[in-house]
């Protein structure tokens, strides 16, 4: 059975249909780019996969669990334990150090912080941001902020890493670095990686590409 199964998924906001009759299967540990123009519905698809939103109709099954039949508490647990999010905006909270920001999902999920801290130290070394952990987000550069953001997404060793325009705020050099990094880390962690992008160059780095146009998968 596939890791991700979408069957007849539709999503509407009022009268506007954003996703229409989507059927999709993604296997575990697959590396997938979701490409499409602005407003095509690619981010909405990502949010449905991440349990951040409900489909208007159809089923979203991830890791044998049907998200559409989950209540708020079950969805919150799913988001915390199964999904790692990397947003275009880093969403690092300015009141906390980078370390505390990274530990936030673990604290919310009531996880063992000591074991997470070990992973964080290792990841920070790999990503070259060890020196940033004790600093506040406003004390580090944009590239460093995005790498801290990635560490936070991976901190609980999620089965699925969802990235919404992770390179949207970066120049082409950093963009390539981050894309490679995400692919390598997902492979190392055994996570399924889905990256939403409008950038053909970024999408071309992935073995599987899904193209969305007007709420439908066209390729």
């Amino acid at each position: 059975m596939s890791f991700i199964i979408l069957s007849n998924v539709e999503k509407s906001f009022g009268q506007t249909k954003v996703l229409s009759q989507l059927n999709l299967r993604i296997e575990s540990k697959e590396l997938v780019a979701i490409r499409g123009a602005s407003g095509s519905g690619k981010s909405t698809l990502l949010y449905l996969l991440g349990g951040l939103d409900h489909p208007s109709s159809g089923n979203v099954i991830i890791d044998h669990k049907n998200l559409t039949s989950m209540n708020d508490e079950e969805l919150a647990f799913f988001r915390n334990s199964t999904v790692g999010f990397v947003f275009q905006f880093h969403f690092l909270l300015p009141s906390m150090t980078c370390r505390d920001n990274i530990l936030l999902p673990g604290r919310i999920g009531g996880k063992n912080i000591k074991s997470i801290e070990k992973d964080i130290e290792e990841l920070a070394k790999i990503l070259g941001v060890s020196h940033c952990l004790s600093k506040f987000p406003f004390e580090i550069s944009g590239g460093e902020q995005q790498r801290v953001n990635i560490i936070r997404a991976l901190s609980l060793r999620p089965k699925m890493l969802l990235c919404d325009e992770p390179t949207g705020n970066l120049d082409s050099k950093n963009s390539e670095k981050v894309t490679t990094l995400l692919k390598n880390l997902a492979a190392d962690f055994g996570a399924t990686l889905l990256v939403v992008t409008h950038d053909d160059k970024v999408a071309s780095c992935f073995p599987r590409k899904i193209v969305i146009e007007d709420g439908q998968i066209i390729g």
């Binding site: 708020d72 919150a76 988001r79 915390n80 999010f85 909270l93 919310i108």
Partner: protein, 398 residues
Amino acid sequence: MHSYLSVLKIALHSRSASKILLATIFSFTFSIAVILCTFGLMDGFDYLLKSGLRHSSGDILVTNRRGFFSVTPEILKKISTLKPLSVAPVIQSEAFLLSHDVSKGVVVRGIESQNFSDSTGLRVSVPAGGIALGKELSEQLKIKVNDTVALTFGSGSETASTLPLIQTFLVSSIIQHGIYQKDLRFVYINRSDISVALGTGHKINLLILGTEPPQTPLKSLDILSLKQRKLKNELGSEFIVKPFWNEYDFLIEAVKVEKFSISLILQLIVVVAVFNIIAFVIYIMEKKAQDFFFLRAVGLSLKVLSQFWLISVILIWSLSCAGAHLLSLFFNWSLQNLSFLQIPGEVYVLSSLSIKLDTADYFIVYGISLIWILLASFIGYLRLKKKPIIQGLRQEFS
């Protein structure tokens, strides 16, 4: 706990949020304190008035329509049906007290120290030839213990009935009833002295009954009302039987009515404080919504969010209640010790006021304020709950 602290840290990040929170707690504290102190003052007034009256009148007073009467075994038998703790026969009259060339109209009570003290709880010791004065009277006329004062009674002996009868007494003690008028007007002498002076023989004109332990505050006046009615029926129409609060009944009733109406008006103060709380909630919502929505995205459930909301509200409420309690204690201390807060006894009947709060007062004031604060914060929580995470994230970060 960790998730609570993380959310709290986010909510209170920035100096302005902390300042607004402090201002909210202070305003709520003051609002609750004002209501507590007002209730406490009214209850204190009620309590001091009643205990002051009991200190001069015992529980039940019996007089005869003809004036003087003899305490016959028949009367005592009827009284004993109430099982009184003590009975004090008293001769009460009016006179002028003369001291340092000044005279003042006073109520003179001829008592037997022991049974009077047992019936009223007021310790008055008057040996033969001695006199005990109220505190206010002694201060006004500058009379001290061991001074000599004179009492001028309205009528003299039979042969010279138009002349006043003047007798001197040695001041044996200064006493305090707690009621201004009584401290200003009441003097106590030995019953045998007044009996001889007025020629009343063994007759008296007032019986004071103590039916409940005088040092124990009365929880309710109902029991005494029942006893008073029962004795009234036993003694018949020749006797007048009154409870101790009879002379200030109107004041006790007024305080009761006033307490109810003021409690309604004081809700306005709570409403003002609630506006502050709502302002704080709106501020947090506007400033911190993006953080809350992000936390929701990484796994904060609505259940945990609502728990955070509830715990925070209860913490604000608890701190405010504790602060209000401390403020009411401070105000009570100030009432007792700061001269500019002393009340004029001639206006307020009592010599001094204090705050008296019972469990019911705390329960009402704290309970109502909790309902208000829960309602106010619920509005903010609903706003967060209603908006889908993704809509919140998009809107807040757009």
